[in-house]
Point group: C2
Amino acid sequence: MRNGLLIVISGPAGTGKGTVVGKLLEKNPNIKLSISKTTRKPRPGEKEGVNYFFVSREQFEEEIKNERFLEYAEYNNNYYGTPKDFVLESLRKGFDVILEIETKGALKIKKAFSDAVLIFLLPPSLEELHRRLIKRGTESEDEIKTRLEIAKNEIKLVSEYDYCVINDDVDNAVEKIQKIIEVEKLRSKRFDIQSFLEE
Amino acid sequence: MRNGLLIVISGPAGTGKGTVVGKLLEKNPNIKLSISKTTRKPRPGEKEGVNYFFVSREQFEEEIKNERFLEYAEYNNNYYGTPKDFVLESLRKGFDVILEIETKGALKIKKAFSDAVLIFLLPPSLEELHRRLIKRGTESEDEIKTRLEIAKNEIKLVSEYDYCVINDDVDNAVEKIQKIIEVEKLRSKRFDIQSFLEE
């Protein structure tokens, strides 16, 4: 049984990661999404085990000690981490696994798993990102400015990623990511020459 | 104008490279095939400018001296080489260019053009390759044995290639190569971050 592919998807807030990943999962039963753990309190509408696993600070730190995370980081006094067991077990069973995580975590994953495939999802342009953030209406004008600055800094890390997909249209972006996954499985490094020659 | 992609396709004799590349060109007017030069005499049915450009030993050596080849090698006392001008000019015009060359030449190209994409075309199995060589009926039993030994040695070089495509079915193999080309264009290293940020 061949191991699945570990796929990391990052992208600035407002790029539409959630929608793209949702559609990707809907269309590909062989892909599983890793749900992160966090110590942050659930926001209205967020569901345990769907958006995050919500745990106490004590529990999170206990799990850090026991090396239960593939990667974790602290933002605004809250921990966020990728649970190790679910990911490794799913890969072993042959499922492809998606981590939807921010750039810092993504680069940690790349260091630890050289076989991971890192995809950066981009808005069609910074202007379009600006328009989308305004339309979303969840941030103040100042917050939107901050978001755009953060986005610019994140985009500077694109070169650390393997692929760069522009989300001009959700279906289009989903199709591109599907093709990336398919083509990554044709990489020579994933081909078992020995068993081919011995067959 | 973005440069085209330099694609190298290799694979053991009898794998069906010719048929796959022919169909790929037919379906993709944006892909050009590089025709090699050789000092070997044309075989019955071979056409100047279609299979090869046939030139004299003197002319070939003159062109080596003038650095007119991307790569060249000598086999059985005959030179074979990839003309530089056609390839570089086509890439500059935005065409993707295919080199259908053997493994030694392929690895030379990879050294000189780190951006080149190397694809190894494999038969479904060594047994199937054996059957195809017998069916082709152009080689004696001894020659077929030699071909299979050469094939095994070539296949050991698969790990030097970027991708490995099994030619179980021509249309299937063509589609995979098309996807590889499409996905390679999504690589971050080919993405112009600077102009995205400045737009």
